[in-house]
Amino acid sequence: MRIRTLMAGALVGLLATTTACSGSGSGGGDTLKIGFFAPESGFGSADGRSALAGARLAVEQVNADGGIDGKKVELVTYDDASDPKQGAVIATKLVSQDRVAAAVSGSYSPQTLAGATIFQRNRIPLVSAYAVNPGIPETGDFIFQQDFDGEVQGRAGAVQLAEDGVTKPAVIAVDNDFGNALVQGFSDQAEKSGLDVVSVDKNEFGEKDFGTIIRRAVDAGADGIYLVQYVAEGTQFFRALRKSGVDLPVLSTEGIDSAGFLESIGDLADGAKITTNLNRDAEAPATKAFLEDFAEANDFPADMVAASSYDAVKLILDAAESSGTSAGDIHQGLLDTSDHEGATGTLERFTDGRQVIKPVQVLQFQGATLVSIGEITDSSVITP
């Protein structure tokens, strides 16, 4: 019996240590705390690196200008290890221990959704930087989505393929909520744009062999491919396409608008197009400034993940600047956002569903670089 008491005591002690070690979060004071989480380890770690770099850049710039209301901005960051379960725990920690005034998710949809519930219950505003699940802002009125949702981008993809003269596209998508949301939007729009989708194939994470699936698409009579993949799978797709000698137009998505992809792809994707939110050739001063500052601060290229995380943090900081630094003030400030000039374009205002209406950028690989070739502005397509 006594052994058991001893052990129970030890466990309770350990639990207490967890609380003590994690530091006493003092709200207020001279700092404005913004929470942040991203997949710094696990399969999403390349995106985590970009997201963190983008968010840090925004905070450093504001602090260099004297902070907000004389307060220094502190970014409290956690690694969610690409693990959906971590979202809720990190959100709770940010809310109850670190007592952040607002938070940014620099992570994927599952983690963002899990965290969003906690932020909503505690009435702390959360801005999702680049997660595409349309369900995220539906969590509640404190949850904002900075990037257009996956269905918008999917619809834009269908419009763009039709414009390129494709009539019978084959869809090859990763089987997770990123892939599903985009394929959903793409399929909805396909008919309206006069496309006849010949096949939809969904692959696992980490799929390496696209040769067979490309042959299947060709056999099905496809005259174009809509590709929804991440960096590793996207690279393998383009290698397989080159090897197969098949010459079909490919339209992909922001999933491969990633520093990791640009660093490793070489000229394999030459000619392929993507839809994304970061226009690297934009004349807009906000975008230009971001690209220059990012290049100066980091040794890897800026991508949509970095730009979106930068914008999400900036949105919160601008809201705090104009409305005040409490969670309630920032929430109000976000609702009142007007004509915010960000790296990913100008945001007139958030919709009633706390989503954004922004033109979808179309870029093309020319050799190893991405060049802007247009944007999709049709409001029936880009309105969530």
Binding site: S41, E204, D209, I213, R215, T235, R239, G245, E263, S264
Partner: protein, 287 residues
């Protein structure tokens, strides 16, 4: 036809990876997940040395040496002391080792995937209308070379007979004078070396290596060595080729209808229920 060739090439890589753990299992009844770390290591050394020193060959060689050394270290300092704790403890220890390795790769080589665009001085070949890339031919040649060598060593040499002796009974073999720690060390070193070789081929073929490269091979090779009848080298090779072929055929006829990784395990579970002793049960390693 292309589908069949693709399947064979992939199956060959599976066979290379699975052969080491199969030999290890035959000896020690240890399901060694950590072996997949050697695969990633081999991949990194090839691509990093191709990039930095412009010598993929040096990369392959250093990968083989590093793989063998890793295998020796793992058995000497981790597995041997806990062998008699049973299969679950060693299995989970192996998984722990694999996690440590993955994290080290991420910290040392960075989170992004690396590539080096290695150009092999091998021509593409046309075989009956199917275009084979140089690397595919190399994969097939190396695999069949390794398979031949393994068969020769196991059946025609003293070391092979030692393996069979130790596989039958570790303690008895020791008692009759076979130096089983040395046999165990050698098998681990060779097993990890083969994995490093497979990793090198894999990362040149796909021109990509990243910290979690070994994840899928790690679990799939378990399915393969079971499917082949635990501890049966011949069965393992047949099972590896079969899985490669079936995966390709399933994808060709149904698309990615079934997740590729589930295919191996569905096949496994179905087969085990019909034929619980494995495809080609080992004659040496008794259940």
């Amino acid at each position: 036809m292309e589908t069949t060739v693709d399947g064979l090439v992939i199956g060959s890589l599976y066979a290379l990876v699975a052969l080491g753990p199969c030999l290890v299992y035959g000896l020690l009844r240890v399901l060694d997940i950590a072996n997949a770390a050697s695969l990633t290591l081999g991949g990194y050394l090839v691509l990093v040395l191709a990039e930095r020193a412009d010598s993929p060959l040096l990369g392959v060689l250093s990968g083989l040496v590093a793989g063998a050394a890793l295998g020796w270290l793992v058995q000497r300092f981790i597995y041997l002391p806990i062998l008699d704790r049973g299969p679950i403890v060693t299995l989970v220890t192996g998984i722990g080792l694999y996690i440590v390795a993955t994290e080290l790769f991420r910290l040392v080589f960075g989170p992004s995937q690396r590539s080096a665009h290695v150009e092999l001085p091998l021509p593409d070949v046309d075989v009956g209308g199917v275009r084979l890339e140089g690397i595919d031919i190399l994969v097939l040649a190396v695999t069949f070379g390794v398979i031949g060598a393994t068969w020769y060593v196991l059946t025609r040499t003293r070391s092979g007979v030692l393996w069979q002796a130790v596989a039958q009974d570790r303690h008895v073999a020791g008692a009759v004078g076979v130096n089983s720690p040395r046999v165990i060390a050698a098998v681990f070193a060779v097993g990890y070396l083969l994995s490093a070789l497979a990793g090198a081929l894999l990362s040149v073929k796909y021109d990509a290596v990243y910290p979690t490269l070994g994840d899928i091979p790690a679990y799939k090779m378990l399915a393969i060595i079971i499917l082949g009848g635990l501890g049966s080298p011949l069965g393992t090779i047949v099972a590896a080729l079969l899985i490669g072929l079936v995966e390709s055929w399933v994808v060709a006829s149904f698309g990615f209808a079934l997740p590729r990784d589930a295919i191996a395990f569905v096949a496994l579970i179905a087969m085990l229920l019909i034929r619980p002793q494995g495809l080609i049960p080992s004659r040496v390693v008794k259940p």
